[in-house]
Symmetry: C2
Subunit: 380 residues, 2 copies
Amino acid sequence: MPKTIPENSIGLVTPKTCQFDHPLQLECGQTLSEYELIYETYGTLNADASNAILICHALSGDHHAAGYHSMQDRKPGWWETCIGPGKPIDSNQFFIVCPNNLGGCKGSTGPISINPQTGKYYGPDFPIVTVQDWVHAQERLAQQLGINKWLAVIGGSLGGMQALQWSISYPDKLEYAIIIASAPKLSAQNIAFNEVARQAIISDPNFHQGHYLENNTRPTHGLILARMLGHITYLSDDAMGAKFGRELRNDTLYYNYDVEFQVESYLRYQGRSFADHFDANTYLLMTKVLDYFDPAHAFNDDLALALKAVQAKFLVLSFTSDWRFSPKRSTEIVNALIANRKQVSYAEITAHQGHDAFLIPIPDYLSIFHAYMQNVGAHL
Amino acid sequence: MPKTIPENSIGLVTPKTCQFDHPLQLECGQTLSEYELIYETYGTLNADASNAILICHALSGDHHAAGYHSMQDRKPGWWETCIGPGKPIDSNQFFIVCPNNLGGCKGSTGPISINPQTGKYYGPDFPIVTVQDWVHAQERLAQQLGINKWLAVIGGSLGGMQALQWSISYPDKLEYAIIIASAPKLSAQNIAFNEVARQAIISDPNFHQGHYLENNTRPTHGLILARMLGHITYLSDDAMGAKFGRELRNDTLYYNYDVEFQVESYLRYQGRSFADHFDANTYLLMTKVLDYFDPAHAFNDDLALALKAVQAKFLVLSFTSDWRFSPKRSTEIVNALIANRKQVSYAEITAHQGHDAFLIPIPDYLSIFHAYMQNVGAHL
């Protein structure tokens, strides 16, 4: 726990919630009659509401993007690196909003919420939402907050997909879209990894076809496996090598199935601590949101066509060692924008940290991001 | 089932077994008092036993490398592409030997064998063997077959590690070592993938700490997950993309947890069919054999030092899209040999098929391999 909160942190923050009673029509055909979104804000909305920035979270992220909930918190929000006073997304200048998405498990309506129609947990019956559904829900939140147009919508990974979708769904409701370590759709390999993670959860005997909460249990082993696997894809081979190499946990080899190498111990720990605070149905849902995202699909698989009507200015960032969403995937977005003569800046940042690089204070990354954001805020 | 067996196949083959009653001291400290190896041979041993070639199999391979066991077989042996009359490893010229390794589940002594000391399945009590142990066992098999020196020891992936270990353990007992799509040791990422596979098996409630056979069950779900995951690492992202892309299984999206994309269906099928005929304890064991392989470890992590005394001539082959054991890993071996002024040929073959490329009839691969093998057999 920090004795003092660092000076460049937004400091103590308190989440807010917003109730929505107007039904939300979902892409899957179902309707959510009512729902709640939990969100955090950092900074102050200016008089003409022109300095609002939406932060979209990734698979295991939530609304707690920056700052601390209490002086006892061991860790700040997940994007503390980039959000705060004097940081790329500067809370002295911008009004920053970060909601937990629908289907999440950190306070927004999702599988662990009570379905008002049945009085029971939604569990596996929570409808499968999509990036487009999230964007619609976020747009309603913007209305509630008195924000007609975002100055920028920003996200990494699955968050970047939301920023891209915003530019398509509401072309006149954002000035800038910032898409980091993302892709215009999953590859077959991406889907394959998701499928193994899902099968790990679903084949856990404690899954009970998703109704584990009613059975007072949780598919912890499956969720641990899913997270261990995910974690491998977030790191590069080089990053893992640099961090662990073949370092042994003990001095000698034991020739048994206990942990021999540090990397095994690390992965087990990561898996367990994640499974302690995340919901399995939400995890399943998030992987499906990723799988389904494909804005070009309705346009004959022509991404340029899908992006024809966008009006936002774009910053696209990728990291050299990211093999989950490699730089090549980012350039697909960039090229589709260029084909439409849209305004786009692109940087491929040299970094050995893999996909996780977007969460890490890499000097080149922060300085490019910061410079761009100063431009974004120049007319405020 | 083939109505006729292809002309360039070795045709019908019958496995043989060899009993060993002399105890084998293992690297882990334990001793196997007696054991059996099952193996196949193709071609004829010449008068001075100078045309013998040892084929070493990989993780899920076995002794059935080429030909058919019956006219009803749907598929030939696993390396039919490379072994047979007129093929790179030409059965008209060479006497080819392929054993199932110790710890295997296809006929050699392993976890599904009965432990003579207890009268029960070895199961999880089968000792953890290493590549070095395998090489010792293979050397004893050579003695039994009247082979003092292999003309060549050949293997892909984990098989290549055995070929490398042969050159270190018995420098004067092989003329050539051919190492394909392999590595001198696993990376942290490689170990991490193995660890997830192991945890999938071990956390299956039917695993019973490895004593599942006594409980008349099998950890099928865990083994399916392990294989699905492994399979992703055998294919390249490009190969998966070319094979499946984001092709849907049905015409429309269903927005549920059933199979939506072809790649999901394919992976589930691969997992299930593998789990039907492979033993989980053997799978665990094979992943540990991979993890532990590191001939440079005893030489201060200096691979060149480990290879100082080798006498074999080497062919090392890698494939551009192999991300399990990338070309960079092969060049580690090549560079260590060059540092010792050993004779080594190296080719990096352009192929989009990933790690599995070594099993696939890629023209450049076969022609390079064939040309080299003609040279190997030139003096016969």
